[in-house]
Symmetry: D2
Subunit: 389 residues, 4 copies
C-alpha cells in the first residue's frame, strides 16, 4: 500500500502503528515494522504505545457494559478502531497531513469504525481506501509486491488476522465455511482444551466501581492485569470462539476468536454486577448493554448515545465492588462464588431455615395482586378466542 | 402434609404426582409414592404421565425462546409448575375437589406459578399452603413425622431439590452461602468435568421449525431425544450451574442447577436461529426472549402476553431448520458448525477472495450516510459540553 | 422524466400510476395523467386501483401497530411505497420490462422503500433514479420541460407533496425552516381549527380484531370508512402536524402532514387496545409498535422481522373489539369513553364504594415484597456512594 | 382519621401537610387545615412548603424524562408521594415519632409509593393505614364524623381528588364508568375548550439543559414558571385527560386529570430534545423514558435503577437548550417551531434546493447495503414458507 500510494498519487507518506498490545509476545516487532516502512519510502513513522489508554478508555467500558456482540464477541477489534482513528487524526493534524489511508477492505466493519470516527474528529480530512481502489486479488497483490521488491513475510498466511490485548480474530480461507469446524491452525494464542492442564485453576478477580483492580487480592494496574488473565486463560484453553456474525455492512460472516481475558473478565463482572443490583436494574441493564454493544460494533463510537449509555452504565457500576472466584479447566471458565459489601442479599431473609426473618404470610397478599390482571386477561382472552371461532 | 391436612381440616385427601420425567433413572419410584400416599390415608392417588405434554408444550417453547433467565437458568422448574397446576385443577374439577393444597413455602417462585395458573383456570378453587400455615422448622417437621409414623426416607437430605427431564435444582444449607463453591454432593446427575471422558464427543442436532427432531441425522421423538441428550451431557459434565437469582417474590437466592439437555439444546437452537435470521430479527429477538423468560419465571404463564410473544417466536422459528454440530468436552459444550437451507449467507458475497460478487465501492456511499447523524451529533455535543463549562 | 428517459436511453417507456386514494377529491385526475403520459411517448400506461389492498394490507396493520413514527407521523407515505413497488414489479414482469425508473431524489426515504422492496421481489430488476442522474435544479427542470413541450401545471407549486387516503405530506421551501410556523398554504385538506365548527362532534368507532368496522354502530367497509373519518376530521381541523423527523438516510428534515383519519383511528385503536390488554401486554406492546414503525419507516418492509412483529400484533388484537367514542372540536380529537366485551375491568373490584369485592388487606403482603429489593438496593447504593466519597 | 387513631391506639398524633402547590388558588387553606388538626387533638402540626424542592427534584426530572405513563398521565401525583414520604420521615425522626399513618386506601398506587419510600429511608418505621383497618364505607365514615363532631366540609363532594402544581386528578362516582364521558363537574381548573378564547395564543418556552428557564425569552424561576404556564393552559382548556390506567396493584381504573402545565412543558421538551439528538438517541431515549415512568409510577422511586436512568437522561439533556414555540387554542397545544444552537440540522444538507451540499449519489452505495440482509431474509423466508406447506 505504501508503494502503491507513492506511485499512484506521488504522495509523501507518513506511517503509523498503534500499539494496542498486539505484540505482547514480541514487542520488538514494532521496530521491524518501522524499518520496513522507512525502507519502502515512508517519510516518517510513528509507533505509539496506546495500551494504557486502550485499557482504561476502551476495554474497561466494554467490561462494564458486559459487551458481547450477539452474546458472543467481546468487541476486541471493534473498540480498537476508534482509538486508532483518533490517534491517526491527531498525528495528521500535527504533521499537516491531509489524507488518511488505511488498509480496510470495503466489506467489513472496520472501515465504518475508522472513517466515521476520523471524520467526526476531523470533518475536513479526506479518507482513502486503497484496497477498494486497486481491486487486486491476493495473487495480484503478491505479484505487485514481488515486482516492487516488497518483502512479504506472510505470503502463505492463510487467515486474515487482527490482534490486540483484548482479543484475536481470524477469518478467510476455510473459516468462511460455516459448516466446517475451524481448524486448529487458525488459533495461535490458546492451547486446545485437550492439552490444557489436568487440574483446574481457581482465580479470584477483585473489582472496584466495575473495574478489575486485582487478582487473588493482589492489586494490579490495568495492562498488567489483563496480560496476567490473558496468560492464565491461554494456558487453560479459554475463550476459543466461532460464530456467524452480522456485520454492520449487512453481510453475515463466519468469525473465529481467541478471547481469554475478555471472556473471563466479562463473566466475572457480570456475575458481580448481578449480585449488587436490584432485579429491576438487572433486567434493564441487559438492554443497555446490548444497545451499547451494537452501537460500538456498528462503528458509531462517536454518537452521543454512547455518552448517555455510559452514564447509565457508570452509575450502575458505582456499587460493583468485591470479588468473584472462577474455576478454569480445559476450555471452560465458570464463576463459582462472589463477595461484595453491596450484595443485595440477606441470608436471614433468604434462608429456608426456620430462623428466617422473612414473613411468609406476605404471600397471601402478594400473589393475588401480582397475578390479578394476568388472570383477568386470561379469562378475557379465552372469551375472545371462543367468539373468534 | 397429608396427615396434617387430615388432622387439621378433617379433609378427604386426593393426592397427585405429575410425571415430568423426574424419575428418568427409576420410574418405579412413582409406585412407591402412591403406596405411601394411600398408606397415610389418601382416598385416591393420581400419577399422570405428562412427559410428552411437558416436552411439546413447555420445553420446546422454552428452546424456541432461548429461555435462560438472567442469561443462565433454563426455567426447568418454572415451566413445570403451570402444567402441574393445570392438571391438578383438571383432576380436582373431575373429582369434585374444592381445595388445592401444595407444598410450596412462602418464599419462593413456585407458589406464584401454581396459584396464579390454578386460579386462572379455576377462579373458584381455594388454595392452601400448609407449609406457611404450620410454620414448623425442619426439626419440628421431623418430629411431627416421627410422632405420626410417617416414613421419611430423606431425613438427612441436605438440599431442597426439584427435578424434571429439563433440569435439576438444589438449594438450602451451604448453598445459601454465595461466597462458597457449591460442594460436589449437591450434584447428582452429572459427572465432575475432571472425571469426564478424555476425548471430546461430537454431536449434531437436527432442527425443524425451531424444534429438535433428531440427533446425528437420526429422527427422534421429543422425550426420547431429550433423554439421549441428557445422558450424553451428564457423561461429559455439561450444565453444572450456580448463580445468584432474582426471585419474583423480591429476594435474591443462590441456586445451583444441573441442566445438561437444556444447555446443549438452547445453545444449538440459538446458533441456528441466528444463522437464518436477519440482523434486525436477531437484535430484536433477544428482547422478546428476555421478556418471555421473565414472564414465565415470574409465574405469569397465563398472561395473554405469552401468547403474543409466542406468536412472534413461532413466526421467527418457521425457518429455523437444519443442523448444528457441537463439541462436548469436560464440562463445556461449544457449537462448532451449522447448516441450513435458509441460512442468510452467501459465500460469493461474503468471501474475501477476489471472485466475490460484492461491490466494495458501495462503501463510498454507505459509510457517509450511516455515520452522518452520529458525526453531526458528536460535533453538537462537543459544543454543548464546551458551553456547559 | 418520461422524455428524458427516452432521449437518454432510447428506451421504450411504460408508465404506472397507483391509485392509493390520493385523488379522493377528483378521481378524474387519473385519466389526465394517463393522457399526458401517452402524449409524451409512453407505450402503455397502467392505472391500478389499489385502494382496497392498501387499506387492508397496509393501513390496517399500521392502525393495529399504533404506527406513529417518533410518536407523531402515521407512516402514510411510508406504507404506500412498498405496495407501489410490488405492483410495479408485477407489471414489469408481465410486460417484460427490465428497468424500473422512479422519481425519488437521493435524499429521502422513499428511494430506500421502493428499491429495497422491488429488489427483494425481483432481484434481477435494474433500478434507475433519473433525479439523481440528471442532477438538475428546479429552474433547469422547468427549462427542460419548456424546451421539450412538456406541460407543467404546477410550475409555481411551492411544496413537494405526497398524498394517499391515509395522509398528506408537504415539504420544501419555507417548510425547511424549523423555526418558522408552517404557513397555511401548505395545508390543503383540513380547515384551520379557527374556522372549524363551533360545536363539537361526537363519533363512535367500532372495532373488531383491531380493525375499524363501523362508525356510530353502522358497519362500513375499509375504504369507505376511512373516507368518512377523513371528511369528518378535515371539517374539524384534525391532524395538522409538523415535526423534525429523522430520516433513514441520516438527515433530519422538517415535515408537515395532514393526517385526519390516521390520527383519529390510531388514537381510538390505542385506547381500546389498552382497555383489553393486561398491563404487561400494554407495556411491551409499545416496544413492538415502535420497532414495527421504525422498520417500516426505514424502508425494510420486506424484512422477515415484520412478519414476526405482526404475528405478535395480531395475537394481541384478537381481543381488540368494541367501540371508542371521541369528541372532535377545533383541531383536537380526544377519546372520551370506550366499551368492550373483553375489557379487563371489573367495577366491583375497582370501585371505591364499600360494596367492592376487593380485599384491601392484600396490600399488607403485597407492598413489602413489591418494594423489597428496591429498598435493599437503596440502602446498598447509599453505602456505596458514601464509600466513594 | 385523627380522632380514630387517638381513640383506637391512645396515640399522640402529630399532623403534617406538604405544600406541593395544591392550593395555588388559595394558600390560606393551609392555615385552616392546621386549625382543624389542632382542634381535633393533634399535638403539633407541620405545614412544610415543598414547592421549590418538588419542582426542582421531582417535576423537572419528569419533564426531562418526558414522563407520560402509558403515553398519557404525567405522574403528577406519583412524583408527589415519595417527597411527602421523605419529609414525613424527617419530621418523625426529629420528633421521635415511631409510627407513620396515612390516608391511602388499599387499592391504589399511593400506598406503595409512600410505604416503600418511607421504609427505605427509615426501615424501622412502622406504617399504619387506618382506611384499610377501619374498613368503613363512605356512609359509615360520615356517621363517625358526625358522632365525633368532626366538621366535614366536603361531605357532598362526589370525587376523590388529588392536587399539586403539576396536575389534578379526580376519580370515583360516575368516573368509574369507562363508557361514560367524564362530566364537567369533575374539572375544576380548566375552562371547557368551548369556552376558551376565540383567538389562539402563542408562547415560546426557553430551555437550558432540559429544564424550562423562561417564557417568551423572559427568565423565570421554576415554581413561578410552572404557575404561569398553568394559568395560560387553564385559560385555553389545555390538558383535560381521561384514561383507563393500569395500576401497580394490578387493577385497571378510570382516571381523569387536568394537567395544563405538564402537558405543555413535556410536549415542548420532547420536541426540542428530538431536535438536538441523533436518531439513535431519539429511538433509545423513548425506552428509557418509558422505563423511568413505569418505575416511578409503580412506587419504586428509591430503586437505584432510577439513578441510572437519570444519569442517562441528564447526559442526553446537556444539549437540550433553545426554545420551542407552541400555539394554544381551545383545548389543543401544538408545537409549531423550535430553535437550538445544538440542533442536528443543516439546511445546506437537508434542502431540496440545488445548492445543497448533499451528495445524492451516496444512495447508490447506501441502499444496496442498507437493505441487503432484509432482501436476503425475504427470499429465505419465502422458501421456508413454501417448504412448510
Amino acid at each position: 500500500m505504501l508503494k502503491w500510494l507513492q506511485e499512484k498519487y506521488h504522495a509523501q507518506i507518513y506511517t503509523f502503528t498503534a500499539d494496542l498490545g498486539q505484540e505482547f509476545a514480541d514487542p520488538s516487532r514494532f521496530k521491524q515494522i518501522e524499518d520496513k516502512a522507512k525502507q519502502l519510502g515512508a517519510i516518517k513513522h510513528f509507533t505509539v504505545d496506546l495500551k494504557e489508554k486502550f485499557v482504561n478508555e476502551y476495554v474497561f467500558p466494554t467490561i462494564k457494559a458486559n459487551g458481547l456482540y450477539q452474546g458472543i464477541y467481546p468487541l476486541s477489534t471493534a473498540i480498537g478502531r476508534p482509538l486508532i482513528a483518533i490517534e491517526a487524526v491527531k498525528i495528521a493534524q500535527k504533521e499537516g497531513i491531509e489524507v488518511l489511508a488505511h488498509g480496510c477492505t470495503g466489506k467489513g466493519n472496520d472501515q465504518i469504525r475508522i472513517n466515521t470516527t476520523a471524520q467526526a474528529y476531523a470533518p475536513e480530512m479526506e479518507i482513502l481506501q486503497p484496497l477498494i481502489e486497486w481491486n487486486m486479488g491476493r495473487d495480484e497483490e503478491i505479484k505487485y509486491a514481488q515486482q516492487h521488491n516488497i518483502p512479504i513475510s506472510n505470503q502463505n498466511k492463510k487467515y486474515s488476522v487482527d490482534e490486540n490485548l483484548f482479543g484475536r480474530s481470524a477469518e478467510c480461507d476455510i473459516l468462511e465455511q460455516p459448516d466446517i469446524e475451524p481448524p486448529e491452525d487458525s488459533k495461535e494464542w490458546t492451547v486446545p482444551p485437550e492439552e490444557a492442564p489436568n487440574n483446574p485453576e481457581y482465580i479470584t478477580i477483585n473489582f472496584k466501581e466495575g473495574i478489575p483492580i486485582g487478582i487473588n487480592d493482589q492489586p494490579m494496574e490495568g495492562v498488567e492485569l489483563i496480560k496476567r488473565i490473558h496468560d492464565i486463560g491461554c494456558k487453560h484453553g479459554i475463550g476459543r470462539i466461532e460464530h456467524m456474525e452480522d456485520r454492520a455492512i449487512g453481510l453475515k460472516s463466519r468469525e473465529t476468536y481467541e478471547i481469554p481475558a475478555a471472556l473471563i473478565l466479562i463473566k466475572a463482572h457480570k456475575d458481580l454486577e448481578k449480585y449488587v443490583c436490584t432485579k429491576h436494574e438487572n433486567s434493564f441493564k441487559s438492554l443497555i448493554d446490548q444497545r451499547w454493544t451494537e452501537l460500538v460494533y456498528d462503528g458509531l463510537w462517536v454518537d452521543p448515545l454512547r455518552d448517555a449509555l455510559e452514564a447509565f452504565i457508570n452509575e450502575i457500576n458505582i456499587k460493583v465492588a468485591g470479588s468473584v472466584s472462577m474455576k478454569l479447566f480445559k476450555g471452560s471458565a465458570e464463576v463459582i462464588a462472589r463477595k461484595s459489601p453491596y450484595g443485595i442479599y440477606d441470608l436471614n431473609l433468604a434462608t429456608y431455615e426456620t430462623k428466617s426473618s422473612f414473613n411468609q404470610k406476605y404471600s397471601y397478599g402478594f400473589i393475588p395482586l401480582w397475578g390479578l390482571q394476568s388472570r383477568m386477561g386470561f379469562i378475557a382472552k379465552k372469551k375472545a378466542n371462543e367468539n373468534k371461532q
